[in-house]
């Protein structure tokens, strides 16, 4: 229900982050990611950000070299998801400071934690950046 998966994929098609909220085998995931990425990479700037693939809708947005793809159910509000993607990027930006693809790659767990705070079981939980980042900052403080 709601969000089915969140993917971050770069322009060469390599997955940088994958969070699924429903069960798919590894094979299925790979094929799914391949197909969707090809569709999104083929579109240009002026086309709309919503793609229909199988029985989901994919909402995507491109930030520099990274594509953020969110797969949602049919009943979901696409514009809201578009906003959500932007919120995610802003949160990461606040934590890492000028976030880039390498940051995501080398601190994958932190990005996962952030995403977990924001989305649970396919529903958006928290939208306030400070609330999201507090536990992560705490954890950083204790472990360092």
């Amino acid at each position: 229900m709601g969000i089915r998966f969140v993917l971050m994929v770069n322009k060469q098609g390599q997955t940088r982050l994958a969070q699924y909220y429903e069960y798919l085998t590894v094979e299925e995931r790979r094929t799914l990611e391949g197909e969707i990425v090809r569709k999104c990479l083929a579109r240009n700037e002026h086309q709309c950000s919503f793609v229909e693939h199988r029985n989901y809708k994919i909402v995507y947005r491109r930030y520099a070299s990274l594509f953020f793809l969110v797969g949602v159910d049919d009943g979901e509000n696409e514009l809201a998801i578009l906003e959500f993607i932007h919120l995610l990027v802003e949160t990461m930006d606040r934590h890492f400071g000028n976030v880039c693809e390498l940051d995501i790659m080398f601190h994958l767990e932190k990005v996962h934690f952030m995403l977990e705070e924001m989305v649970m079981n396919g529903c958006i939980v928290e939208t306030s950046k400070s609330n999201i980042l507090t536990p992560i900052q705490l954890m950083d403080k204790t472990s360092s």
Partner: protein
């Protein structure tokens, strides 16, 4: 230090992977890492567990199997430190899912963590539970979660709320327990808790009607108040997005209001004000604002009717439609589709804009707009709409054309006010995009044409003109060829001219030219050429002056490598040269194909109405029945048959002819060319004995001059060797005066037994007998012999046959096959060949047996049946 020891830090491994230039290198690196991790797991290494888990997650993301890490997750979760627990839970959620049994082991750890003093750990456990718990775990841990719904810390409350959503989904019975705590959540001030509380209530309402009632009664006002407070709240930096405070919360509240207001007038009334306020006051120049407006419009459309609000909503949609941002337009089209059911009139006003969207550059928008147009079509606006669509067809992309063509064809078929318009539009579509037109569509066209007798002349002339310009569209060529064959005389003599037509002079040889071009083109496929041959036969009767020329053309196909064409050519040639007396009756005008039956049959054979795969499940006014794939033969062995699309059209026409043959001779209806096989025509010529070999034999026996026989004797000898008596009677009446010597039956001919299937371990032999008087049915005695030295038990034989055959299997004599031919199993099969004589038997078999308890399966295809079975 060995860089691949388990001491590698995550980032070094990532660097190593990134440095790989090829996929094989990457696989090598990953393999080494996995090996190191596995070794470390075996040694139960404490220090690097954390690191290994992180590496495993990265590797999993790349797509490699990582099951060996699952137990590590559990150990990590059980350890006391926070970072370890954190990584353990993360690993748990990524690497496992609810179907794995390992998950059950976590239940105890989860329970302990849920009662932990450290609230972050409680949060972790709730998170994990919320993402992947299974039904049993949900049942076990539900009381804990319930308790946590009232915890003092808002973060925990919000996570507990989301966890409850999953629990309710997995175990709907527990929903009642959650109703009260959920409603209390709705009065929260903290946005996070409020948003999750709202989601919880939405889900509760969806699962249980009792909850829905309860919440509707108690909470609607409260929700309306919350929404109002939110909408009027001052700027708060925490939740502000693009000038609006927490749009996500707005949207969720609107969604819940929608669920509550649907079907209930009172609730809807109380919401009217706030909905109006949100709809008018929200700024729409940013994505966030538009998202809220979109949700608002959806809510207005779903709740009970309030005229003013609806108008407001549709105006907003209209504004969206003319927005330049593609996203907004897409969303508007989506919404309009749903609005059509509510208020079709209002949507019609935006028809022009929607039509523009069909031509948009963006593929998603085009698709949506096309579906919307399809839904909007009705009798009044069909003509201009279709005109626009057909004009666009000329310039559209190839991948869009197929969709567009299908839609245009179905609109035209459903709503055409008069036949001439229908024919015009279909001709245009065929000229532009004939190759995308499905077979049922042009069958239907032909049916309509044959029914509209006053338009025959017009149609054939229009087709002739169209052919001059667009001869590369296959379906157009086929329809043209058929019509010229049928109505060629009208074409040449300008019969039945309508006022709107320009006069056109076509000579007989021009008409024959057209068919000749069709038949000689490289690009013409088998169907077209076959149809062209029949058309030539008809023309040879209607245009006696061109008869010779036509004869020459046909003669060229006598040696064609394709059996179908060769056969037709030989037969038609024989008709033209030797049987002129029957020729004209043979190719008289076809009887009018009954439209109603055709449509009924077609509708019956198609699956239930479904517009398109992606349209929302709304009952749309114009349901389009998806054209069914032609019913292909089971074994697909009839690839040498020219016409697979015999599905509905063909069967129907064959049936038609079957009916027509019995009564009087004037129903010669023999111009039975078109789409069904030549079988029917053969029936006529060979007077009921449709054995291909038979007629070819007869005719070739003529050419080899075995004995000088007169044409009439030929025909009688045809009847002599007929083996099936089914159509013999009435057809002899047709040809009148032919001595009806009783057909000699080959009673129980001896057929050689055949080794149908042989493998290294099994042989299957068939012995055939036929009942006298029932030539279509063959009784086959199947014998299985075991060629190996093991005894086979549980022996099961299965067979599959194509559609024209019927198979009946008697029980086998036994199901144990002793070794090395010491005994055998026999089984009787009865096969009825509805195309007896035209097609020989084929069969696909599957034999299953056990050797020493181990299952074995053998499969094969038998195509070496004697020909005349």
């Amino acid at each position: 230090m060995n860089p691949f020891s388990s001491g590698t830090r995550l980032r070094d491994m990532i660097r190593a992977i990134r440095a790989c230039k090829t996929a094989a290198e990457e696989r090598g690196v990953v393999r080494k890492e996995c090996a190191a991790i596995r070794a470390s797991i075996n040694e139960n290494d404490q220090d690097y567990r954390h690191r290994n888990m992180a590496k495993l997650m990265f590797i999993h993301m790349l797509g490699y199997p990582t099951h060996f890490g699952q137990m590590e997750c559990l150990k990590l979760i059980a350890s006391p430190g926070f970072p370890e627990k954190r990584i353990g839970y993360l690993g748990l959620m990524l690497l496992l899912d609810e179907r794995q049994e390992v998950l059950m082991l976590v239940t105890n750890s989860l329970k302990q963590d849920l009662n932990h003093t450290n609230q972050y750990i409680v949060g972790l456990a709730l998170c994990a539970l919320g993402n992947i718990c299974s039904a049993e775990m949900a049942r076990d841990l539900a009381p804990e979660v319930e308790r946590l719904l009232q915890f003092r810390d808002p973060n925990i409350r919000k996570k507990a709320a989301l966890c409850s959503i999953r629990i309710i989904k997995k175990v709907p019975d527990l929903a009642e327990n959650f109703i009260n705590p959920a409603t209390s959540l709705l009065r929260e001030k903290h946005h996070g808790v409020l948003i999750t509380g709202v989601q919880l209530c939405t889900d509760l309402c969806k699962t249980s009607t009792e909850a829905l009632e309860h919440i509707r009664k108690k909470c609607t006002d409260g929700l309306v108040r919350s929404l109002r407070d939110l909408a009027n709240s001052p700027y708060s930096p925490e939740y502000d997005i693009a000038g609006i405070t927490d749009p996500f919360l707005h949207i969720r509240l609107l969604k819940l209001l929608r669920v509550l207001g649907e079907g209930d007038a009172d609730a809807s009334d109380s919401m009217n004000d706030i909905l109006a306020q949100v709809a008018t006051k929200t700024e729409s120049n940013k994505v966030a604002g538009n998202a809220i407006l979109y949700e608002c419009v959806q809510t207005i459309m779903s709740i009970e009717d309030n005229g003013g609000l609806r108008v407001l909503a549709i105006n907003i949609l209209g504004r969206f439609l003319s927005n330049r941002d593609n996203n907004i337009r897409y969303v508007a089209l989506n919404m309009l589709m749903r609005a059509v059911t509510a208020d079709a009139q209002a949507v019609q006003r935006h028809r022009a804009t929607i039509l523009e969207c069909v031509k948009d550059l963006d593929a998603s928008i085009r698709k949506r707009a096309l579906e919307l147009v399809y839904v909007l079509v009705n009798e009044t606006n069909v003509k201009p709409l279709v005109k626009e669509l057909v004009d666009y067809l000329e310039v559209s992309d190839l991948d869009f054309r197929e969709d567009l063509t299908t839609k245009i064809c179905s609109i035209v078929a459903k709503f055409s006010p008069e036949k001439i318009w229908y024919i015009d539009q279909m001709l245009k579509v065929l000229s532009e995009a004939g190759n995308f037109v499905k077979d049922e569509v042009w069958y239907a066209l032909i049916v309509v044409v044959s029914n509209a007798s006053e338009l025959h002349g017009y149609t054939v002339r229009a087709l002739y003109r169209a052919f001059q310009t667009s001869a590369e569209q296959e379906t157009l060529v086929r329809v043209t060829v058929w019509c010229i064959g049928e109505y060629g005389d009208m074409l040449v003599n300008n019969i039945g001219m309508l006022d709107i037509e320009d006069p056109i002079t076509v000579t007989e040889s021009d008409a024959v030219d057209v068919v000749e071009i069709a038949i000689k083109r490289h690009a013409s496929d088998l169907t077209t050429k076959a149809m062209a041959l029949v058309a030539l036969l008809k023309l040879s009767s209607r245009f006696p002056s061109c008869s010779e020329r036509i004869g020459e053309i046909i003669v060229q196909f006598k040696g064609n490598l394709v059996l179908e064409l060769q056969q037709r050519a030989i037969e038609f040639n024989s008709v033209i040269s030797k049987h002129q007396n029957i020729r004209s009756t043979l190719v008289e005008r076809m009887p009018v194909l009954d439209e109603a039956t055709f449509i009924g049959r077609r509708a019956g054979s198609l699956p239930g109405a479904a517009s398109t795969a992606t349209a929302p499940s709304v009952s749309l006014p114009n349901g389009l029945a998806k054209p069914a794939a032609p019913l292909v033969d089971l074994l697909d062995l009839s690839s040498d048959d020219p016409v697979a699309p015999s599905s509905s059209g063909g069967d129907f026409l064959q049936d038609l002819l079957g009916v027509d043959l019995s009564p009087a001779s004037q129903q010669s209806g023999a111009g039975q060319a078109s789409k069904s096989g030549t079988d029917v025509l053969l029936d006529l010529l060979s007077i009921g004995s449709p054995v291909q070999s038979n007629s070819v034999d007869i005719l070739s026996s003529n050419t080899s001059n075995k004995a000088p026989v007169s044409p009439l004797d030929d025909l009688s000898s045809l009847s002599l060797s007929s083996r099936s008596t089914s159509n013999a009677g009435p057809v002899m009446d047709l040809l009148g005066g032919i001595s009806s010597s009783p057909p000699t039956e080959n009673n129980g001919p001896v057929y050689p037994s055949v080794t149908a299937f042989e493998s290294s371990s099994l042989r299957l032999t068939f012995n055939f007998t036929k009942q006298p008087g029932n030539p279509q049915t063959t009784v086959i005695q199947a014998t299985f012999t075991n060629l190996s030295s093991n005894t086979y038990t549980d022996f099961v034989f299965q067979a599959a046959v194509p559609k024209f055959l019927q198979l009946h299997l008697d029980p086998a004599s036994g199901n144990t096959l002793p070794a090395t031919g010491n005994g055998s199993i026999t089984q009787t099969l009865r096969v009825t060949n509805s195309q007896h004589g035209k097609k020989s038997l084929v069969m696909r078999i599957r034999i299953a047996y056990k050797i020493n308890g181990k299952d074995t399966l053998e499969e094969g295809q038998i195509s070496n049946f004697p020909r005349d079975l």
